[in-house]
Symmetry: C2
């Protein structure tokens, strides 16, 4: 279950540690099974196993005190409204986890991922996002087709776009962020309706572009600040 | 040299891979020594060593093609002006690296770190920041004393502060960010002149607070957007 292939086949994913497990239960996710090293670690109805057994099934270098297997929730694509974030081939689980937490913080209900974006049930993403993963609706789609069918403006974070601080941002929109090394792919760039950039204030042109998670933070902050909701 | 103690004693730090090495040379940092697996990897005047030898001295799980040792530059505390970022016990090298890149992007010339903040010459920080490390002046200080002596307003990112979107932000100011788990320490909170927060738009109060690097991204963006420089 450490691999996407087996998670998909079984329809299950792993979460570790009492905090994340209890948050996911509180969010209404369905438990498949739960294990703990003793009765006092802070989770209910766990099967008691030894530390050695727990380490064997754990995805962490050093296992926590408990591990739960949850069913991957079946999600239906709800009608698009409000601000939607779309990711084009974001590969790093840490970045994906940070972006899911940002969506939760900024009240973005839907996160749309291209098929080649990192899997949101990757153990690293689950551990990084805590309960946020259950509060943000995440869908994997053919991103170009999805965007072609969209009825709202499609903004994309690029290096040579309009200054985001001066661009009017609507309430209902899709915000696209691209791959860590290559940005938004050409096919997706072709279906954007607005190209926006975060201006660089430092004078050195050798400066690396912003990391995709920090760029997402700034763009979501701007959308929410300027529309006030 | 993988440990701070030995880096400090020797006054040296390690950078790996042609891109970061060449950026640091271009920024004027002094080379102590440089090694490469052959003459064609893209760095000049390197001593040729074998891949096995390189892996032995490398800090990376899989060594790049070259490794350089640089002298830690001696920095003098320049007069405070513009926007300054101060970190109170930020422990994660990845977060520190991201914050250094953000400072470089937003033209923040000075980064002040408490003595218990992660070391900026940690190999993970060097690899994450690329040339940014040479463009941002980084100082480790007794943060409470430093802030007590400061002559400009001191803003701190806290959970229960004024909404950053409505707070007037001056051009000359210090922006303090705190530890990953505990935020800004009480001693430092006592010397803040303004407490600010990034408002939460999602309705779920169980949502984890923003990561320190994403919070820094949003606060720097707000300062620069609102002061326009």
């Amino acid at each position: 279950m450490k691999k996407k292939k087996y998670r998909d086949q079984a329809g299950l994913f792993i979460a570790e540690g009492p905090k994340v497990i209890n948050e996911l239960i509180a969010e209404g996710l369905q438990l498949h099974s739960i294990f703990a090293i003793d009765d006092s670690v802070g989770v209910k109805n766990a099967t008691v196993i030894t530390q050695t057994e727990l380490q064997k099934i754990s995805c962490l270098t050093t296992a926590n005190s408990c591990l739960a297997v949850f069913k991957i929730p079946k999600k239906e694509l709800t009608e698009d409204s409000g601000l939607i974030v779309a990711l084009d081939a974001v590969r790093d689980p840490g970045n994906l986890g940070t972006i899911i937490r940002l969506c939760d913080w900024f009240g973005v209900a839907q996160l749309i991922c291209s098929m080649d974006t990192a899997d949101c049930y990757n153990p690293k993403v689950i551990q990084a996002t805590m309960g946020s993963i259950a509060r943000v609706e995440i869908q994997y789609v053919d991103l170009v087709s999805y965007l072609k069918d969209a009825k709202c403006p499609i903004f994309g974070g690029v290096m040579d776009g309009t200054n985001v601080y001066t661009q009017k941002l609507p309430e209902n929109a899709i915000m696209v962020l691209g791959n860590e090394a290559n940005g938004i792919s050409e096919a997706v760039q072709n279906v954007l309706t607005h190209r926006i950039s975060i201006p660089q204030f430092g004078k050195n042109k050798a400066t690396e572009s912003l990391n995709v998670a920090t760029a997402t933070a700034i763009l979501l902050s701007e959308c929410k600040r300027s529309t006030g909701r």
